[in-house]
């Protein structure tokens, strides 16, 4: 008998919960998120991709949701791990579009995975605002996939501006003509080195040392020793995270005496500053931010508070900006109709943590930071293609 009562109570409770449910439930937007949680790119995604999604969804829901024509929509994130495998990215995005019926899908992580998913985003009409894809074929790609947007910037500009900074320092008489250039023999490093070589030569620099090393080389001391022997005025490495750290370590050991020390990817990571402390002062790399801007400082503080880690000074801000763009476009368009939202992204400018962003006719963001430098406690932008707040570069002065 007692049991019966309990059962009845349970049924009653369940029923009332079910009945009360719809009345209490708010409108919800299903947002799909795909990215590596395992595989070779999981480390990078754990710094740039996932924390921003966590931060953004937390914030949106804390402030009551996204405003769509007067109705507030909470966001529900559906996450899938693509294992850094393009086949899995395709499956996951297809699953989100067809099985989960996601209202919007966030762009995946990295160039390869974004491009693999582009046909699926295109087919189902989802806007794909990428923040970690870089390509030199923006025109061709946006013709084929009109919903594909690029925020991160182009390699040719990143390289061109780095050479430009060196040229300025040379003309000011701060450094000489001798450049040691090395690169990691993998995708991005290869492309940057290939486009840098002719630009350096055109600018009248002498490449006194040039080499490449395989990705994952554990001991970079021979590279650094040879570079030092060539007595360069500037050291430039088109490097990936592990070797950015490895080369800097060796430079400290060898006390490499150069006016410019440049390492590419991961120089902008907060972990770089934590690892090298005062020795990081004056090191240049890809990326940079306007560290004085209030919106970035505020973003960095919130990032720290919600995710327990600091954002990096390159793609993190852009990743968060891509989420802001999507949110502002949904609110601005006043609808969750995806075609209207995509058109709104093309036609309008957006106020983000990285400043105002407006896409050009190729769906490309023309204004981004290209070269940054550790000055004090921040990796500050020293060159950009049209961002405000650049600081003057300083010379690298020893390793202590």
């Amino acid at each position: 008998m007692k049991r019966r009562t309990l059962l009845n109570t349970t049924v009653a409770l369940t029923l009332s919960a079910a009945l009360a449910g719809p009345a209490l439930a708010q409108e919800t937007l299903k947002i799909g998120a795909v990215g590596p949680k395992t595989g070779p790119l999981a480390g990078g995604a754990a710094v740039t991709h996932w924390p921003n999604i966590e931060l953004w969804s937390t914030e949106v829901n804390e402030r009551g949701g996204i405003d769509v024509d007067g109705t507030k929509y909470m966001v529900e994130i559906i996450e899938y791990d693509d294992q850094t495998n393009p086949s899995e990215t395709i499956s996951a995005v297809t699953r989100l579009a067809t099985q989960d019926e996601a209202d919007f899908i966030l762009a995946p992580y990295s160039t390869g995975l974004n491009l693999a998913a582009a046909p699926i985003f295109d087919r189902f009409g989802y806007p794909q605002v990428t923040s970690t894809a870089s390509t030199d074929r923006v025109g061709e790609l946006s013709d084929q996939f009109p919903n594909l947007f690029f925020l991160l910037g182009q390699n040719s500009e990143i390289v061109g501006d780095a050479v430009e900074i060196l040229t300025e320092l040379r003309e000011a008489g701060d450094i000489g003509n001798r450049v040691a250039m090395v690169n990691v023999a993998d995708a991005f490093g290869i492309e940057l080195a290939a486009s840098a070589k002719p630009i350096f030569e055109e600018a009248g620099f002498e490449l006194v040392y040039e080499t490449s090393y395989p990705l994952g080389t554990p001991d970079l001391s021979p590279v650094m020793k040879s570079a030092k022997d060539s007595e360069p005025d500037a050291f430039v490495a088109w490097s990936y995270p592990p070797d950015t750290f490895g080369l800097t370590e060796q430079a400290v050991i060898e006390e490499l005496d150069v006016g410019v020390f440049y390492t590419a990817v991961a120089t902008a990571f907060p972990a770089y500053k934590q690892r090298f402390g005062a020795a990081a002062e004056g090191v240049m790399g890809i990326g940079g931010v306007n560290a004085e801007s209030e919106s970035f400082q505020d973003y960095a503080a919130r990032h720290m508070e919600v995710t327990g880690q600091a954002p990096d000074y390159w793609a993190s801000g852009m990743m968060y900006a891509s989420l802001q763009i999507l949110e502002q476009a949904i609110t601005g368009a006043g609808t969750i109709d995806r075609d209207t939202v995509t058109q709104y992204i093309k036609d309008n400018s957006f106020d983000t943590v990285m400043g105002t962003i407006e896409f050009d006719e190729n769906n490309n963001n023309p204004a981004y930071w290209t070269v940054g430098q550790w000055q004090g406690d921040a990796f500050r932008g020293v060159a950009s293609t049209g961002r405000e707040g650049a600081v003057d570069p300083i010379l690298k002065d020893g390793w202590e």
């Binding site: 996450e79 393009p86 297809t94 067809t98």
Partner: protein, 310 residues
């Protein structure tokens, strides 16, 4: 016998015809699963054609697959698409012949290690070449749809089955079965074991290369790290063993449940895919040591035995 063959053939044709209708349902989700199944069916069946009878475990699938992807990636600039999968097939076969001649005289574990290294070797060669030429990823921008890719894979599966069927009834197939049972005996009966093994390895290499070529347009962007992922080689072996390699249709009964299991795990436990996959493997190994083929045939035998007693 001929009548039984005719019936099997009709059944296979019917199954393929039904499968070919999948894109007509209009569901992108089922089509994407269908592509996975068709892709792994070709890869595992062609793998089992060689590894089944000879018991040589090849981990070279990723190498051939990557070579195929790069054939389309590079060739698409110069040639019409339809010419590329056949070229990839020829390249795959040539590569398999070279590798086979060099290694198939080795046996057992040496062969496994060499094939595992092969994908890495080809990948490093491509990276080295890129480092010299300064070119990074390769773009394959085409108008080829998922449905067209699916049909191509299905056609390829039909070819692989036809080849497997023909080989099984030929002197070559007979020779391979003897090699698998005892290579020494085979050699003493006058079989040129090296040539037989190389011939079969070429079939399996060519099929994997064509799959890579057909799938390249789906990925849009080809880079060495994803084209030569070693995971692919392992998945093929695991699926083939789950099905069972003793029968031509064995790998297929491994691929289908594995694809659905993988999809269920990826969809429901996105943070624990690798863990759950490992657990599934353990369960499979303990409960199905001879694969689904063993399970099905064991059940059939038991039923027949029961009938006999009754």
């Amino acid at each position: 016998m001929i009548r039984a063959d005719g019936r099997t053939l009709a059944l296979v044709a019917l199954v393929l015809a039904v499968a070919a209708c999948l894109p007509l349902t209009g569901s992108a989700y089922w089509l994407s699963l269908g592509i996975s199944i068709a892709m792994y069916t070709v890869l595992t069946t062609s793998w089992a054609l060689f590894s089944g009878p000879t018991h040589y475990i090849s981990l070279a699938t990723a190498a051939f697959f990557g070579v195929g992807s790069y054939t389309t990636g590079i060739g698409i600039e110069y040639l019409p698409y339809w010419a590329l999968p056949p070229i990839a097939g020829v390249l795959g076969a040539v590569m398999a012949a070279l590798v086979g001649l060099a290694t198939l005289r080795l046996s057992g574990v040496y062969f496994v290690i060499f094939t595992l290294g092969l994908a890495e070797l080809v990948r490093q060669v491509i990276i080295w070449f890129q480092n010299i030429s300064g070119q990074k990823g390769i773009y394959v921008l085409t108008k080829i749809t998922e449905a067209q890719i699916f049909w191509q894979l299905l056609g390829l599966a039909a070819l692989v089955y036809a080849a497997g069927w023909a080989i099984g009834r030929s002197r070559l197939g007979f020779a391979l079965r003897i090699i698998g049972d005892d290579e020494e005996v085979a050699r003493h009966s006058g079989i040129n074991t090296a040539r037989a093994k190389v011939a079969l390895f070429m079939v399996s290499g060519a099929a994997a290369a064509v799959v890579g070529a057909v799938l390249a347009p789906r990925f849009v962007y080809i880079e060495p790290s994803t084209a030569f992922t070693p995971m692919l080689s392992f998945q093929v072996v695991i699926m083939a063993l789950l099905g069972g390699t003793g029968r031509l249709w064995g790998p297929l009964v491994g691929v289908i449940p594995f694809t659905f299991l993988w999809e269920a795990i990826s969809a429901s436990f996105p943070n624990q895919t690798t863990l759950l996959l490992g657990v599934s493997f353990l369960v499979i190994v303990y409960l199905l040591p001879r694969g689904f083929v063993g399970l099905i045939e064991g059940t059939r035998r038991r039923m027949r035995a029961r009938e006999a007693f009754a």
